[in-house]
């Protein structure tokens, strides 16, 4: 058996087009996950019991339901409940974003807890408004601890975004599957798809590294 490069080259443009969709879904899902995740983290660290309870329940639910099931539920289930239909792209973003919000919530929470409590105390002692203490003192320092785990969450969402063909998004894997069935070249096309995703995750990891260096501005690096 030989590796059919020809079919790879001929299918690649269509696959890359599909890849754009996959990446778009993952990026939008990540944006939703970051915004909601910050909210989940703040609720989880609240003084009051009720918001903390809501955050734990959200975490249990979103971490517990498999992404595939959740995607089906948003795409097929929600319209039955509400009567309004939802596009497959939007459904994928919603499913990824809400699932990701649980993971990002934990990333934010762990990051916020990793900041030296003396920083909050110094802000308190200076009489800084609570919002200033959070946005200007604690969160920027927590960000340093959040980059690496955030990259993990994003990569997880990107991989999750490769199953969106189940709700009819013509993404990269959808193209690979369609063409490979017609031409009997699953090995070539799935290898290609896998390698493309590896390249992207490596690129994202490098981006995370650059962001970390940027956040280290002013910090003395030890060895």
């Amino acid at each position: 058996m030989s590796f059919d490069f020809d079919i790879v080259l001929r299918t690649l443009p269509a696959m890359l087009q599909g890849l754009v969709l996959t990446v778009e879904i993952a990026v939008w899902g990540f944006v939703v996950a970051v915004v909601l995740g910050l909210l989940v983290a703040v609720l989880g660290l609240a003084r009051y019991r009720t918001p903390r309870w809501i955050a734990s329940a959200w975490l249990a639910l979103m971490r517990g339901v498999p992404l595939l099931v959740f995607m089906y539920w948003v795409y097929y289930g929600l319209p039955q409940l509400t009567g309004a239909t939802i596009g497959s792209f939007a459904a994928a973003v919603v499913a990824l974003g809400l699932t990701g919000s649980a993971y990002m919530g934990e990333v934010f929470r762990a990051g916020l807890l990793a900041v030296d409590p003396g920083q909050q105390e110094a802000a308190d002692a200076l009489g800084l408004p609570r919002s200033t203490a959070f946005w200007r003192v604690v969160l920027p320092q927590a960000a340093r601890f959040m980059v690496a785990p955030s990259v993990n969450v994003f990569v997880g969402l990107l991989k999750g975004a490769t199953i969106v063909s189940v709700i009819g998004v013509a993404d990269m894997l959808y193209i690979a599957k369609k063409v490979s069935v017609q031409t009997f070249t699953p090995f070539e096309l799935y290898t290609t798809a896998g390698l493309i995703l590896v390249v992207i995750t490596v690129a994202v990891a490098l981006l995370g590294f650059v962001v970390e260096r940027r956040l280290d501005r002013g910090r003395v690096r030890h060895a």
């Binding site: 920083q119 105390e121 200076l126 009489g127 800084l128 609570r130 200007r136 003192v137 320092q141």
Partner: protein, 261 residues
Amino acid sequence: MTANTPGDDVLVRLRGIRKAFGANVVLDGVDLDVRAGEVLVLLGPSGSGKSTLLRTVNMLTPPDAGTVEFDGEVLVPPASRWPWAYRRQSARLARHRREMGMVFQHFNVFPHMSVLRNITLALRSAQGLSKADAEAVALERLRAVSLAEKASAYPDSLSGGQKQRLAIARALALAPKLMLFDEATSALDPELVKGVLDEMRALAGSGMTMIVVTHEIQFAKEVADRVVFMEHGRIVEEGPAAQFDEPREQRTREFLRALSS
């Protein structure tokens, strides 16, 4: 609702302060007055409650019982279960805290901000100064602690002594009526202690009201108007600094002997 009457110049009034962490009673009913302009030094073995007492003054550690009065007003730690009331309480406490500077053992400068921004942050966000005004005040404060040329540097490039002087400048920038020092020199290398003590000495000389927790006994004798010796969460002995050359209490003598040996 000021309780200040003419002739009554008490700036801080602590009454019946109690604090326990779990079963560990750290403050066991402390009464203490600090007059305006007074330099008060708190001495005592570790675990005696002196740092905790200092932290109750600005409510970083709210007491379980007792009252803290600052400048004639009773301080209330934010405790309401209603968010809007909690916000109002913490805004009121923040207003009082801006009138009390605090210097920590581990400096607690903001490592992600330049030296200058460490100082301008509170001036701008809490006192509402413009950028230019805040920077003018900050630079003046930095000059006073010989750090003006470090204005754009980040704290990690400073020595421990410089960080602590920055922390002092940061606290003083808000023009507080009271300064709290929590073992401000304990984390410093020996050769850097003097620079920080010099700043504190100058501040005491300028008439600032200060409560100082320290183990620097010579410094205490030199600048303190009054020394308070604590043990087991209680005040054992208090009096003018000279009294501690010949302490009345056996326990105080033992402690001072252990310090000088």
